[in-house]
């Protein structure tokens, strides 16, 4: 098991600084994710998808329960380094505006203590993998379009050859046609690098396109986990309603 999540709970303080009231964002979440598997997490806004994403990344700690990455606690930085990457929705703030594309991709490579020359030579290959040519190396993020920045973010996430990449609404703010290009890219990269994905989105069609299994979250609870191939035989009424409301 790559990731095993067991009875995780998370709540945030609601209202003012001294307010005692707490909002329960995640309730008793347990699931497992195999090595190389692509798991989709879908739900409405406010269902706790992104909070779960942050907990899986170890950026935040759960109130109760445990999240294990290859049997070790995900909160430990050493367990995560180079093994777990993330790509977020807001591409405008994902890359330091003072960094060129080259510097942005170099950052995680240097974290892995690679020699600078070796790392520099790798960048061309990485850019090629995501469909950008070497002329992008010296460009700044504001000079690129949304789809291009998101590709750079993906190249950066792939650079350490992680076992798993978490995408938090990574394609939601892109145009329809660009979305498709990025999805195709992700499919190809997954084969080549043998990685697993955790794909958080509200776009069920995109999730069905790329994932092996889909988890439906509702008000912080797991409504259902279903194999994509069995999507048409979902059990819960909520998931059925969700599937009927897709505008195809």
């Amino acid at each position: 098991m790559l990731l095993s999540v067991e009875s995780v709970e998370k709540s945030y303080r609601k209202g003012g600084l001294f307010s005692k009231e707490r909002e329960h964002v995640l309730k008793n979440i347990s699931f497992e994710c195999k090595l190389g598997e692509c798991l989709g997490i879908i739900g409405e806004s406010g269902s706790g998808k992104s909070t779960l994403g942050r907990l899986l990344l170890g950026i935040e700690k759960p109130d109760r329960g445990s999240i294990l990455f290859e049997g070790k606690k995900v909160e430990d930085r050493k367990v995560r380094t180079g093994n777990l990457s993330a790509v977020f929705q807001d591409y405008t703030s994902s890359i330091n505006p003072f960094y060129t594309v080259e510097e942005a991709i170099l950052e995680p490579l240097q974290m892995k203590r690679k020699a600078r020359e070796e790392a520099l030579s790798e960048i061309d290959h990485l850019l090629y993998q995501v469909g950008l040519d070497p002329s992008y190396r010296k460009k700044y993020p504001h000079e690129l379009s949304g789809g291009e920045v998101q590709r750079v973010c993906i190249a950066r996430a792939v650079s350490t050859e992680p076992k798993c990449i978490l995408f938090d609404e990574a394609i939601s703010s892109l145009d329809g046609s660009v979305q498709m290009q990025v999805l195709e890219l992700l499919k190809n990269l997954r084969k080549r690098y043998d990685m697993g994905y955790i794909f958080i989105t509200h776009d069920i069609q995109a999730a069905a396109y790329i994932c092996d299994r889909i988890m439906v979250l509702r008000n912080g609870e797991i409504e259902e986990i279903v194999e994509v191939e069995q999507l048409k035989d979902v059990q819960s009424t909520y998931t059925k309603k969700l599937l009927q409301m897709i505008i195809a």
């Binding site: 806004s45 195709e184 599937l243």
Partner: protein, 274 residues
């Protein structure tokens, strides 16, 4: 059928660097019909619509004719234009969260708008808004009006905007990507309200979107834009069944793989297609 809005030789350029954004576009909206403008980001969809409202930033200039019921909006003074906006031309923006004043409750915004255009009293406004909000499936309208924008979800705010449009009864409603920021469930609900709005009021509409699935549902005519130019226009049926331009074909085909995969997974059951 008469044309409610006619745009002739509209040119939009940035006066600071003389970059032309929209070189020369002409189109019209028929009374009671819905025109959809599709294209990728940066194709000039939003700028065109802001030009109709004359709401572009100071550095951006425009020339040409915009006729609303035969009256040329380009010749109107800013003061007269202000009276038109909201009353005759109504705009619903992409991000409901940012369309309301964050420092006061939603009701204040609604009251100010309606006072400005109709001069109604407080009770009349509340009664009218309550009706309209109930018709867009908002439960407890009074409570919604007493909440701040950050306390409400994006879908709710977008429906409040539609409710306001119902009360204002504009000649033409411009919706700039009204559902892009919403999740699948609220997207469906908001689109449902748009469809009902058209049925109930027979209001003309300009609908900007890059989601072709939604366009297919709502629009009568489609205009395809690329890099500021109109590459194709025609009825929705014609555009979707026999696209002429390669770019239109590209747009249509781009999401096809995903849709087909989804339909296969769902066992050939068509979802929400009407």
């Amino acid at each position: 059928m008469t044309n409610i809005l006619e745009v002739k030789n509209l040119k939009i350029w940035d006066s600071r660097n003389d970059r032309v954004i929209v070189p020369n576009s002409s189109f019209y909206v028929k009374q009671g019909s819905c025109l959809a403008i599709v294209g990728e980001s940066g194709s000039g969809k939003s700028v065109t619509c802001k030009a109709i409202m004359k709401l572009n930033k100071a550095g951006i200039r425009q020339s040409g004719d915009i006729l609303l019921r035969g009256e040329n909006l380009m010749e109107l003074s800013e003061q007269r234009m202000r009276k038109k906006r909201g009353k005759q031309l109504c705009m619903i923006l992409q991000n409901g969260m940012r369309a309301f004043d964050p420092s006061c409750v939603v009701g204040v915004h609604l009251k100010e708008t309606l006072m400005e255009h109709f001069g109604w009293g407080r009770d009349e406004i509340i009664a009218k808004m309550k009706n309209a909000m109930e018709s867009v499936m908002l439960k407890d309208p009074i409570e919604v009006m007493n909440k701040y924008p950050h306390q409400l979800s994006g879908g709710t705010l977008q429906r409040v905007m539609i409710a306001l449009a119902i009360v204002l009864e504009p000649d033409i409603l411009i919706a700039d990507e009204p559902t892009t920021a919403l999740d699948t469930l609220s997207q469906f609900e908001v689109i449902e309200q748009f469809l009902q709005l058209r049925e109930r009021m027979g209001c003309s509409m300009i609908f900007i979107s890059h989601d072709l699935g939604i366009v297919k549902l709502i629009a009568d005519e489609v205009l395809v834009m690329k890099e500021g130019e109109i590459v194709e226009n025609g009825t929705t049926q014609a555009i979707f069944s026999e696209p002429q331009h390669t770019y239109t074909r590209y747009l249509l085909s781009s999401k096809l793989a995903m849709n087909q995969h989804f339909k296969r997974v769902m066992g050939g059951v068509n979802v929400a297609e009407r």
